[in-house]
């Protein structure tokens, strides 16, 4: 019986539009999660797919020894394609000349992703047995030989490599690379037991295969083995992907929080609407069980409809978005299972948990309310509601992100925001105390209304402000991220690096470039050195520190050091002053943090068998994404100029001037040229894709904000209805009431706007410094725009709702229709 009644109530209320708000709120939450999850899954697959061309595979296991064949069997079972690369250093001989080279021995299948480019065009296949493909500068270093010897084997140099997909972005790779067939390794006789070699096992496959493989294999790796994917390391691609992922995640969490707030408000209104029905049902003898079943089923029907609509729209949104994506990205279609499950869970959890408390109150409505209309339900304490709501938000956030810390941060921020805004709002409204109750002037009527409903208005203020805060935060972050990426990759971003320029070549290189490009960039000297002591304490490797040896954590490898007289562009001093005294050094902030270094610490380096001690004068922020030579340590000229150095520089060359590079290599064959044009193009594409998702997120957040505001206006209007009726009955003109209500809401919107700017500036400061590493600045125009647009928006919403009410007759209003 209760089931039938539930269905009847649902059907009737649905067609009469009474369930629109709550269904819309649930639909939006589900749509946001499903749509964003599927779009971001698609983008992530696409971005990783493109970025993986930079590591020539989707995943790599790097190991100093051959790995357990069982691991490879797992990859086979997961359906991944695989190959492996053997890397070792060896001396190459050509007549009486010799040069250390990095040998990459490869087998059929390499590279799994991307292409090898040769001076003659894109490579087909791999070098034949007995021949090598080589980096151009090797020929220069060995005086253009036709054959070279490596170990006991003689090889023909058959093709010049201009780009290897997994060459990485290491500007300081000192040895030229040669590519060899795996089958030729044995005859060189170079690899002996105990030789230093690196095995790179490369894997490629689809997202689910890779995830399955990763989950199985990662725990089995030992400490000497390293798991590599596109987000490993400090490459510009990895950084861009990481940041975009973080932003999407954060925006989704905030979107979920907003949609939850809308559901919370809508659920409260939903329950309030049914107070009389419950009282009436109880009066006619309905048992508690009947009422419980009726409303649980009713709510479940409402939720189900919201979830289904949300899923359909979410999947539709994904399809629409894919129409706007470049064909190659649109063709990546990750499984919809995760987004659909996430969306469904979001709808169910948020609707049921946010409704639990209002429902509990609804069920406790006393039947006596049919006679004593002012009777309300039992109050179970706001803490229960708060606890349930925060739990729902936390659970959803964690389900979505899988990141406890970020989820907790968002939940705590929302909690703090709520408390802070309630207090501030209450205070601000109370300050209006003493304003008269004259009812001739809409402004005074509005102010009096604000003060009279201080408590209720404070709650509404929280709703309006939260919506605005989240909107402003997302808006600003999106803008800042896009701008920063644009700044880092301006149209004139350098696309070539020249590395290993010998001291005697410096002048020549500069003169040569001067002929072809307008502004020759500065050369950075590069000197190799090892950090040996910090404040007199020996430095240790990570392993030694973990083994409990006494000393300070060091870097464990040689560093590339440079000296500068001025702070490089795009570097920013975070602490101290840039090198002023002869033995000053400036340290990059990431290294400083890792090694716990601070201004005033003494660092000792071994350079060229000499000991050099310097004092940290500044900590520096370096944007690794910008395609400039960047350094962990920058010394003064006094300290380093006496050591032997090579130089490095970056410059921009238009695509139609390739012959400049050919000419340069002819003149300076030992100089390495690194072409990063392809990488820039890739980065740009990633940024374009991320921009699409940022706009989508923004759109959803705007919708969620609008919904929260509408729900809040709706809630506010219900309590004003009787007052409007009374004033109307006593002859207040429609004009006066309309303006007074509009103004009251506008004032609320104004205050919400002011509070929203404060809070969003603060939260932006936290997010930019703690999560996104973006420059912090104040958004001054907002200080005017946000309160004004808040006033206009909320005021109009109030006016609109007021107009609807004033269209009813006084008796209808008084009866509560």
């Amino acid at each position: 019986m209760a089931l039938m009644l539930a269905w009847r109530f649902f059907k009737r209320e649905l067609f009469q539009g009474q369930l629109l708000l709550i269904i819309f709120a649930i639909t939006l939450a589900v749509l946001a999660v499903t749509g964003l999850a599927s779009v971001s899954d698609r983008l992530q697959v696409a971005i990783e797919g493109q970025a993986s061309q930079f590591i020539a595979a989707d995943r790599i296991i790097q190991s100093p020894r051959e790995i357990d064949p069982a691991l490879l069997a797992i990859a086979n079972k997961a359906g991944l394609t695989q190959t492996y690369v053997l890397e070792f250093n060896s001396m190459a001989y050509a007549g009486d000349k010799f040069q250390l080279v990095k040998v990459r021995a490869v087998e059929e299948g390499y590279p799994l992703k991307g292409q090898i480019e040769l001076s003659t065009g894109q490579a087909q296949g791999l070098p034949k047995r007995g021949s090598l493909w080589f980096e151009t500068r090797l020929a220069g270093l060995l005086s253009q030989p036709e054959h070279i010897e490596i170990g006991h084997a003689n090889f023909t140099l058959s093709a010049e490599i201009t780009r290897l997909p997994d060459a990485g972005f290491n500007l300081f790779a000192s040895s030229p690379v040669v590519l060899m067939r795996m089958a030729d390794v044995a005859k060189t006789g170079v690899i002996q037991p105990g030789s230093r070699v690196t095995y790179l096992y490369q894997f490629a496959g689809n997202a689910s295969q890779l995830t399955a493989f990763e989950m199985q294999v990662k725990p089995l790796l030992n400490t000497s083995q390293r798991w590599i994917d596109v987000t490993s390391g400090d490459s510009p691609i990895a950084n861009a992907v990481k940041r975009a992922e973080q932003f999407l995640l954060l925006a989704c969490l905030l979107g979920i929080a907003l949609a939850c707030a809308a559901i919370g408000i809508a659920a409260q209104r939903y329950c309030q609407r049914h107070y009389d029905v419950v009282a009436m049902l109880k009066t006619f003898g309905a048992s508690a069980r009947q009422i419980r079943i009726l409303f649980s089923v009713h709510l479940l029907l409402v939720t189900s409809l919201g979830v289904v609509l949300g899923l359909v729209l979410g999947i539709g949104l994904d399809k629409v978005i894919s129409l706007f994506l470049p064909a190659e990205i649109a063709s990546y279609s990750p499984s919809l299972l995760r987004p659909v499950l996430l969306g469904t869970a979001t709808g169910l959890i948020s609707a049921l948990m946010f409704s639990a408390y209002p429902l509990l109150r609804l069920l406790s409505i006393p039947p006596l309310r049919v006679i004593q209309r002012q009777l309300e339900s039992a109050n179970f304490g706001m803490w229960l509601h708060l606890l349930l709501s925060l739990m729902a938000m936390g659970l959803l956030g964690y389900l979505y992100s899988g990141q406890l810390a970020m989820t907790l941060t968002v939940v705590l921020t929302v909690l703090l925001l709520g408390v802070l805004l309630s207090l501030l709002g209450f205070l601000m409204i109370k300050l209006g105390h003493g304003i008269g109750m004259k009812t001739t002037n809409p402004m005074q009527l509005a102010l009096a209304g604000l003060r009279r409903r201080a408590k209720q208005n404070a709650v509404q203020l929280v709703g309006f402000s939260c919506a605005l805060v989240l909107l402003l935060t997302i808006l600003a972050l999106r803008q800042d991220l896009l701008e920063e990426w644009q700044q880092q990759l301006p149209d004139n971003a350098p696309n070539y690096f020249l590395v290993n320029i010998a001291p005697e070549q410096k002048q020549g290189v500069e003169d040569y470039l001067f002929e072809y490009i307008d502004e020759v960039p500065e050369l950075y000297p590069v000197i190799r050195g090892r950090l040996t002591q910090i404040n007199g304490e020996e430095t240790l490797t990570k392993k030694q520190v973990e083994a409990g040896e006494s000393g300070r954590l060091g870097i464990g490898r040689e560093l590339n050091l440079t000296w500068r007289e001025q702070l490089p562009k795009n570097n920013q001093i975070l602490e101290g002053h840039f090198n002023q005294k002869p033995n000053d050094v400036s340290v990059e902030s990431g290294v400083a943090e890792r090694l716990a270094l601070k201004v005033g610490d003494e660092l000792t380096f071994t350079i060229d068998n000499q000991t050099v001690s310097v004092i940290i004068a500044s900590i520096r922020d370096v944007h690794w994404e910008n395609l400039q030579p960047n350094f962990f340590m920058i010394f003064t000229r006094d300290t380093l100029s006496s050591f032997a150095s090579t130089s490095i520089l970056s410059f921009r060359l238009e695509n139609d001037k390739q012959q400049v590079i050919v000419g340069l290599l002819r003149l300076f064959p030992t100089v390495s040229v690194i072409d990063v044009g392809a990488m820039i193009a890739q980065l740009r594409q990633i940024i374009d894709q991320v921009s699409v998702s940022l706009s989508l997120v923004l759109g959803l957040v705007i919708m969620a904000s609008a919904l929260v505001m509408m729900a809040q206006t709706e809630a506010g209007m219900a309590s004003r209805q009787r007052e409007l009726a009374v004033l109307r009955t006593f002859g207040a003109s429609g004009w006066l009431l309309k303006w007074a209500t509009g103004l009251e809401f506008a004032l609320l919107g104004f205050i919400a706007g002011v509070l929203a700017v404060w809070v969003s500036e603060f939260s932006l400061y936290l997010l930019k410094t703690q999560v996104f590493e973006l420059n912090v600045y104040m958004h001054w125009p907002w200080w005017g725009i946000a309160p004004l647009s808040g006033a206009v928006l909320v005021g109009l919403l109030g006016l609109w709702r007021c107009r609807q009410l004033l269209n009813h007759s006084c008796s209808e209003l008084l009866k509560g229709h």
Binding site: R12, F284, P367
Partner: protein, 237 residues
């Protein structure tokens, strides 16, 4: 009217705690209403009429005293027991009609019958609406009906479960003269047909005069009016 008591009230007290201390709303009420009898409770606003109605209808619990409804002591029942009792024996008519505005006339009338598990609630509801002259309004929603029509729906709803006792709280309070007369007529005639005990709370002296006994409530004390006209019936109007 039989000799069996439908409602017996002994030394009923209702007091509430206020900031100023204990406020006694009902102070030692005694009452005996026979099955099929109609009584009116009159009194100024705030005199405790509605409080008494709430207690008699098992919607509220007294501070002291006993109430027996159709022989059953309300004090011995928990909330569920009271709900079951209401479902079986009691019905209501309110000043503000209290129709569910999302359900149509027919569904509103069906509601108590469905809750009570009566078979063919729909057919029965149609019959009831026919009796109150609303056959042509079955699918209309409350906001599409006039005040008088809404109260007729409420009357049909009140009688569908054939209650032993009907409580009416100012049933004509929201209606104009013509509608008020119609509703009164209908209420009393249906009451007579179904031998229901009627407890009416009202300000309307004419309406009260249609009841067999009239009681005056003043400062929480109930007293029977001396100008009682036990056999007053339809011919008065």
């Amino acid at each position: 009217m039989s000799n069996k008591s439908a409602i017996v009230v002994n030394a009923l007290v209702k007091s509430v705690m206020t900031q100023e201390g204990v406020l006694t709303i009902l102070n030692g009420i005694d009452l005996d209403v026979k099955q099929g009898e109609s009584i009116a409770i009159l009194g100024p606003s705030g005199s405790g009429k509605s409080t008494l109605l709430g207690l008699l209808a098992a919607l509220d619990a007294p501070t002291g005293g006993d109430i027996y409804l159709d022989g059953e002591s309300l004090g011995a029942l928990d909330e569920e027991g009271k709900a079951a009792l209401r479902k079986e024996k009691v019905s209501f008519i309110f000043q503000s009609f209290m129709l569910v505005d999302t359900l149509n006339a027919l569904e509103n009338v069906m509601l108590p019958a469905e809750l009570a598990g009566i078979k063919d609630a729909r057919g029965k509801a149609k019959q009831m609406l026919d009796r109150v002259g609303l056959t042509h309004r079955l699918t209309h929603f409350p906001h599409q009906l006039s005040g008088g029509e809404q109260q007729r729906v409420a009357i049909a709803r009140a009688f569908i479960c054939e209650p032993k006792v009907l409580f009416a709280d100012e049933p004509t309070g929201n209606l104009d003269g013509a509608n008020s007369d119609k509703i009164t007529q209908m209420l009393f005639s249906m009451n007579k047909e179904s031998d229901t005990t009627l407890v009416l709370v009202t300000h309307d002296l004419i309406l009260a005069s249609r009841c067999q006994r009239q009681f005056m409530m003043e400062d929480g004390v109930l007293s029977e009016s001396t100008n009682s006209r036990p056999d007053i019936t339809d011919e008065v109007r």
